[in-house]
Subunit: 236 residues, 2 copies
């Protein structure tokens, strides 16, 4: 499958057309951004590592009948995916309080939550990706109530699956972000990626951060942390 | 029923004990605040007007079997109410986009919404009363999922009742904020007040603002606007 014209370029990925109208190529970049794009940098080798991690996790989710856009791994930092009509929302599931829960709502940092927290964000750089709820999304014409309920159910299912997957590999899934789209039948499908760019992942024993927080807060060892996640989840 | 010791003083009201353990007196102040308490002032006569408006609206809601803390009107700016264990949440229902919908989410100002928007806010001055969702409220131990569903259903019912009540009086109910508490049986009851301090109310024809936005944005005629709302809703 060959790359044809560039259809879309985001902060961390490029989407290319292919000869098949229903399929596109997702290319993972080494570029890294944080804080609504205000911090910019590059993490050497990140594109290929995240492409590999995402491929492993999408395949694992397929084994649990979670519908994703993943078709197959291509060489290097590229992945063949189904073309989706992406919904401009981000769903977040949190198992441990950190980040915005601490800043906005004064949760104690690193506190395991008795009940996981599901959040919906509007994907809009100009507005700073604000937290919204299902009524906002519906009133804005972005998604129907039953689609948002499906997004919640899929996010909760993916959380259950990936939490124990990570646990068995000495990792803690702190929180993660997903994006969904609609396929040609209008069915809801998981899109985007699942990687240390979009998940917070800690070492289970030391609580060492193995994700983009190392880049966000200039903690060093970013490449090593991403590689560490790949090494751990490759040991199936 | 006589005022005994002061139990609680908020930005717009004081709560006093009575000889009956299950009842308290709610006294409405002329003090006005806006923007998380950063703007402070006073609106002459507001206390008594809001007490009267709230009494009329609580009585009207009782006729539709909405449970509220209202027992009866006392003299001046005072109301006898059931003592509730207040839940530190604010529910908001919006029929027309304005205020934070415009600022945070870029809705066109004054646009009637095809679908009303329900919101949940954490009542916490230090955190600036942030928008939250039911999962945050549950994880924080503030309210159980079924209580939040009840708060949604009651807020939607109150919206339907008050929207047509206002319409018949040449007013538009743009949006409003409610607070709930639990009675001695643990049942969910509407508390606080319903007034131009907690509702946005416009004249139906001219869209003239008849609420606290006149104070927020120094539009003048604040007292007159509050009196206008009282005059209109007194004509039953």
């Amino acid at each position: 499958m060959e790359k044809k014209e560039l259809l879309h370029e985001g902060k961390a990925k490029r989407i290319y057309a292919t000869e098949d109208e229903t399929l596109v190529i997702q290319e993972f970049k080494d570029d890294a951004t944080a804080f609504d794009g205000n911090k910019k940098g590059s993490i050497t080798g990140k594109g290929e590592i995240n492409c590999t991690i995402s491929s492993i996790l999408f395949e694992y989710l397929h084994s649990y009948h979670v519908p994703t856009h993943y078709v197959r791994r291509l060489e290097g930092n590229m992945m063949l995916i189904k073309k989706l009509d992406m919904i401009p929302l981000e769903t977040v599931m949190r198992n441990i309080a950190t980040g915005s829960l601490v800043k906005r709502l004064a949760f104690p940092d690193a506190k395991p939550l008795d009940y996981s927290i599901f959040e919906l964000y509007l994907k809009n750089d100009d507005l700073g990706d604000p937290l919204i709820n299902e009524y906002h999304a519906f009133a804005m014409g972005i998604a129907r109530p039953e689609e948002i309920r499906s997004m919640y159910r899929l996010t909760a299912k993916i959380n259950a699956i990936l939490k124990s997957f990570m646990e068995r590999r000495g990792l803690v899934l702190v929180d993660f972000k997903l994006e969904f789209g609609r396929d040609e039948n209008g069915d809801l499908i998981l899109g985007d990626e699942i990687s240390p760019d979009t998940c917070r992942i800690w070492d289970r024993k030391t609580h060492k951060k193995l994700d983009k927080d190392r880049f966000r807060f200039d903690m060093g060892g970013v490449e090593k942390a991403y590689q560490e996640v790949l090494d751990r989840i490759s040991n199936v």
